[in-house]
C-alpha cells in the first residue's frame, strides 16, 4: 500500500516544524502539501534548514487553496491561529477531507464558552458536535471514526492525563484543584516578539498567565466529563527558559479515608496498558528532558499525608505530545493505522 497523501496548512511555526520532523520518518503518510501565505514559492528546506538533504526539504510551499488541498490530500493538519482554522477547517470538512485541527476552534463544545475566552464569534457551530477531542487515551474509538479532530491544547494534555484517574475514582475533592503549570518557550510560538527574545527569557523565569489562561475552559470541560460534575480549577502558567517541555504540578485534597495505596492503584489501573503514559515508580519525579522529543506523558504521584493532599506531577513535550505528535497519533487512528505509527520516538538525552 502506498502512503496516504496529507497536507499541512500553516508551515512557519514550531508545530509545523515538528510535524515535518515526525512525518519525515512516517511510512504510511506522505506530506504532499505544505502551505503558507508568507512563504509560498520557497522550498521547505529554505525555511527549515534542518530538512536540507532530506526528501521533504524539496517540497514546495504553496498558497493555502481549499480546491488544491481537496484534490491532493486525504487528510489535512491545520497549524494556523484560531478563527482561521475554523474557516479553512470547515471548508475542508464540507468537502469530505479529514481534518486534524491544532487550534482551539473545535475543542470547546459550548459555543458561548468558546466565544467568551477567545473573543471571536464561532461561525461553524454546526461542526462542534461532530468534532472529536483528540486525546487518544480517552477518546480513541471516537477518533477512529472522526472526520474532524480537535487536537488538544498542550497544557490541557498534561493536566487531563494527570487528574483523570484521581477524579474518575473519586479520590480527591473536586472543589479544590490548583494547577501550577510551566512551559518552555516554544509554546509561545515563532512570531517576532520582544517578550520571547532570548535575552528576555534566558536565565529568567516568570509567571504570565495567572487565573486567565485560555486553556482553562478546555481543562474544566474535560475534567467535568471525567468527574461527572462541573469543575472549576485554578489554572496558572509560567514561562520556562527551555525550548520544549511542560511540567504541571497539580495540587488536590484527598477525600477522607482514601489511602496512598488506593491512589497508586487507580493510576496503575488507568495507565498500565497505555504505552505512552508512564506512571513513575515511587521516588522518581518527572523531568521534561526524559520525555523530550516524544509522545510520553510521565506522571509522578505523591500523596502527602501531612497536609492531606495528593500532588500529581506530569511532564510532556509540548511540541510533540502537546501538539504535532498527538496530531499524528490522531491522524493514524483516523486513517486506520496503529496509533503509534511513526511515533516510536526515544527521548533525546541530554
Amino acid at each position: 500500500m502506498s502512503a496516504i497523501p496529507v497536507g499541512l496548512v500553516g508551515v512557519t511555526g514550531y508545530t509545523g516544524m515538528e510535524l515535518a520532523r515526525i512525518l519525515s520518518n512516517h511510512n504510511k503518510m506522505k506530506l504532499v502539501r505544505v502551505t503558507s501565505r508568507a512563504e509560498a514559492g520557497k522550498k521547505l528546506a529554505d525555511i527549515y534548514p534542518f530538512l536540507n538533504g532530506m526528501e521533504l526539504g524539496a517540497l514546495e510551499i504553496t498558497m493555502p487553496e481549499v480546491d488544491d488541498l481537496e484534490k491532493s490530500c486525504e487528510l489535512v493538519f491545520l497549524a494556523v491561529p484560531h478563527k482561521t482554522a475554523m474557516n479553512i477547517g470547515g471548508q475542508l470538512f464540507d468537502r469530505g477531507i479529514k481534518v486534524v485541527d491544532l487550534s482551539a476552534d473545535f475543542r470547546i463544545r459550548d459555543r458561548k464558552t468558546y466565544e467568551e475566552w477567545y473573543k471571536v464569534d464561532h461561525t461553524r457551530e454546526d461542526l462542534l458536535p461532530k468534532a472529536v477531542y483528540g486525546l487518544p487515551e480517552f477518546y480513541r474509538d471516537q477518533v477512529k471514526g472522526a472526520s474532524l479532530v480537535a487536537n488538544p491544547g498542550c497544557y490541557p494534555t498534561s493536566v487531563i492525563i494527570g487528574l483523570t484517574p484521581a477524579l474518575a475514582e473519586n479520590l480527591v475533592e473536586t472543589t479544590d484543584i490548583v494547577i501550577d503549570a510551566k512551559s518552555g518557550a516554544s509554546g509561545a510560538g515563532r512570531g517576532a516578539n520582544v517578550g520571547t527574545l532570548f535575552c528576555e527569557v534566558a536565565d529568567s523565569f516568570r509567571a504570565y498567565g495567572l487565573t486567565s489562561h485560555r486553556h482553562t475552559p478546555e481543562i474544566e470541560q474535560e475534567l467535568s466529563v471525567v468527574a461527572e460534575e462541573s469543575i472549576t480549577v485554578s489554572f496558572n502558567t509560567h514561562l520556562l527558559p527551555i525550548d520544549r517541555g511542560i511540567l504541571s504540578t497539580i495540587y488536590t485534597k484527598v477525600k477522607d479515608g482514601v489511602t496512598a495505596q488506593e491512589i497508586r492503584a487507580a493510576y496503575a489501573k488507568a495507565y498500565d496498558n497505555e504505552k505512552l503514559i508512564r506512571v513513575l515508580p515511587e521516588g522518581q519525579l518527572p523531568e521534561t528532558r526524559w520525555v523530550r522529543g516524544t509522545m510520553f506523558c510521565d506522571v509522578g504521584v505523591v500523596p502527602d499525608p501531612r497536609t492531606g493532599r495528593l500532588i500529581i506531577v506530569t511532564a510532556i513535550d509540548n511540541v510533540c505530545r502537546g501538539a504535532s505528535g498527538q496530531a499524528v497519533a490522531n491522524a493514524n487512528l483516523m486513517l486506520g493505522f496503529n496509533e503509534r505509527e511513526g511515533l516510536a520516538l526515544a527521548p533525546m538525552m541530554p
Copy 2:
C-alpha cells in the same frame, strides 16, 4: 572611621562568592579573613578568578581557626553546612564575636523540630533563644541588638514576605496554603554532583522536593508567628535551568467577604515603606531577572474571584536576597550601619 574587620568561614561555595562580590564594594566592612580547609594557602583570586585585579583577590585563604577569627574579626559570616555551623558559630559566640550564620542551625526555635527535619542532634540548644531570625523587615530591631543571627533560608525568605500581609490582616484561610516554589541551580550549591551538571539541568525542568523540603518547618514557624496560630503548609520545590533566582507561586483561599481592594491595601500598608520589597502594579508579575543580583523581593498580588483564591507571586535572587546579601544587611544592622549599606544594587538586565 575605618572599616570593621569581618571574616567568612567557608569560602568555596556560591554564597561565599556572593559575599565576596558584595563586600568588595562595601565601605564600612572589610573582609580580612576567609577560610577553607580545602583551599587554605591559596589567594582568593586563585579560586574566584572574577576577583583577579581586585584588592580582595589578594586575600589569603586560611584554615578556620577560632582563635585567629576571634583576634582578627568583629563579626564572622558562616557559610558552612549545618552542624558544622552550630559548632564553630557557638564557639565564636562564646568568645563575644558577632555571628551571622547562613546555615539552618539557629533558624528553628524548637530543637526537636530541628532534629527531626535535619537528622542531627542540636548541641547548642542554649543559643536557640538568643539567635535572632534575620529577616530584616520583620525583625529589624532584634537584629540590631543581636550577637547571633540566623540568616533565613532562600525559599522561606520568598514565602514569608509573600504571605505575611495576607496572614497578618487575616485575609486568607490558614488551612489551605499551597506553595509551588522554583529555584535556580545555585541553590543546590557548588559541590561536584552529577545531578547538577549542566547537561542534567539545562533545557530541562523538574520537581525535586515535593512535600519534604527542609525549609518547610522554617516557613511554618514564621507564618505561625504572623498568624498567631499553628500553620501547616504544602511546600514544594522545583529546579530551574537558571543560575540565580527563586520564584514562589503561593496559592491561598480568600476568607469570605474579603475584597481585592482590601488585599491590595494590606500589601501596600505592609510594604510601602520598605525599600527592598516592591509590590508590583496591577498587571505586572514578578520575573527573576528583574531582581537579579539585588536585595529586592518583588511581589505580585493576584486575587481570583472566579475561584475564590488569592495568588501571590514573589521573586528574589536566592544568592543575594536569599543568602549573602541578606547576611550583609543583618551584619549592617548588628554593626550599627544603615541596613542597605553596600546593598544599593541595581538589577542586571539582561
Copy 3:
C-alpha cells in the same frame, strides 16, 4: 557639588537598560532626560520593571527634542541606530552639548570606508576629525578634551585590547591575523526578530557574520594606527546562547625569534597599570562570566611554539565594557571625573 545632568536618547534597547543600571548608582551624573519616540509619556519603570521602586524608575520618557536636551543636559548619550545618531549627535554638538555616541557614526575616520560598510551617506563629515575614538586606555587624554566621543563597538573593544601589545611591540606578523569572535545575544539588540527568539538561539550555536561584519573596518583602522601600517584582518562572528559577553580568540603568527617571555613582558608592560584590563596568570583563560556586569577586559596570552603562533583570548561584557559602561567611562573623562566613577562593579558570579 551637585550631579551633572545628563540625557539618554534611545531608551528601549539593552544599551539603554545598562546605562540606566549604571547611572542609578552614579554619584556625579544624574540622568534627567530619557527619550524614545515609541515610549514617550511612560515612566521608565513601565518599560524597565527592574527600576520599580528606584528613583530612576519615576523618570518620564520624553520625545527626543534637541531644544529640550540642550536646555536640560550637559552631556547626552546616544543609543540610537547609526544615521539617526549622526543627525541628532551633530545638532547637539553644534549647540555645545557634549555627546557620547554609542553608534558607529563617528568611529570610522574615513568617510568613504564608513559609507561602503554602512551603506548610508555620511552627512556630518565635518565632525569626523573632531570625534575621539573612546577606548579610554588608548585615547584617555583626547577623550578628556573631547566634545564628541565615538564609543567603540563591542567586538572592536575586545579585539583592539587583545592585539595592541603584540602589534605595538612588533611581535607578530601583521599579515596573518584571524579573529574568531563570539557574542551573546544582547549584541543583536532588543528588536522583535525571529532570528533572536529564545527557541532560535538557546541550546544552539551558529556562525553569522563571516568575512563581512561591519566592525571589520573599525578594527582595521585602530590596529593600523597601532602597527603603523595598513592591516587587513579576517574577522568572523558567532552567536552564543548567553545574554552578555564576548569572547574573541585571536590567532597570530609570531615573528621569527620572538620568545614567550617577550610576549608576556609586552602584555605586562602595556596593562599592568590599567585597572580594568586583567592579563591572566599563565594557565588561566578568560571566561565571559568572570567579567559579567563589569568593565573588565580579561586577556589570556597563549604562545604556541609547536605551530609558531600566538593565541590571544579576550573576554568582555559586551553591554557594559562593550557599550554603556565604556560610554560612562568616557563621560567621566569628558566631565572631569575619575574614569572609573560609578564603574567599580564586581563581576556577578554565578
Copy 4:
C-alpha cells in the same frame, strides 16, 4: 532474520545514553548486554529514566565480563575511558568478537604519538594495524571488513569532514590551518565535576583547550593522509553552554589562483553523493540545532577574496555523529547492514 545481539561496555555516560536511544529503534541489532561496575544489578531504566516503559529499560546492568560478552554478543561497543578500552577491546578481539571502540585507544596509528598525547603505555600495539578508523565516508570499505573499529573523536569528525575536499584537491595551503572549535558540555562527560556544573557553564563561554587538546594528533594524522604530506594544525577548543553540538570554524589560506567556483566544485564533488554530509547553499551557515540528534554533518563554505582565505564551518551533534551514532553506522557496516540502518534521524527543532 532475527536481530544481531550486541553489547555495550560502560553504560553510565552520555555516549551510553545515546547508544541506548539509537538502539531502542534499531531493527537489526538488539542490545543484550550493558555493563557497568558501578551500576551492576540495576535495570537500565533505573539509571536512564527516559527508558521507563521501553523494552530496553528492563535490561539488567551486569559487570563487564569478557566471557559473558563473548557468549552473548556478536559485537560490542566500548564506551569506557582510554586504556580501559585497550584492555577489554583487545581481549574481545582476541576471542573473535567485533569491537567498536569509542575511546581513543586505537585511533592513533603511531604508538609513540599516542603515548605522548595520552600519557599511558599502549599495551596492544599489535592491534594498531588491524584497527580501522571509522569515519564511514572515507573508510567505508575497510570498515566493512574490520573486526576492530576505532570510532573517531567528536572534534576530529567535524574537522576532517570540513577540510578533506580542500586538501584533497590541493586548494589551500597546508601550512596555515587554524581550527577554532566549540563544543557543548556533553563532550565533557557525565562525571561529577565542579567545572561542568550548571552554574559554571550556563550563561558563560570559555576557551579551555588551546594548543594542547588530545584530538590534535588524530586530526593531523588524518589530514596528513588526505594531503599526502605531514600537516601540523593549530587546533583550539571552547566550551559552549549547550547540551549537544560541535561547531568548528576552520581558517585556511587559499592557494594562488584558486577560485571560489573551484572550491565549491570540490565540495560538491566530494559530498554530493553522501547522504549524511550536507554542503549548505551559499548564504546559509551551519547551526548546531539543525543537526541536533542526527548523523548529519553540515558544511558551510565561505571563500573570502578580501583576505585570501577560505573559511569552512562545520556542525555536528557530538553525541550522535561525534560518538554513538557514528559507532552504530560502523557497526552497521561491520555486520553487513545498510550504513544508515536505524540512523534515519530527523533533527529536533527547536
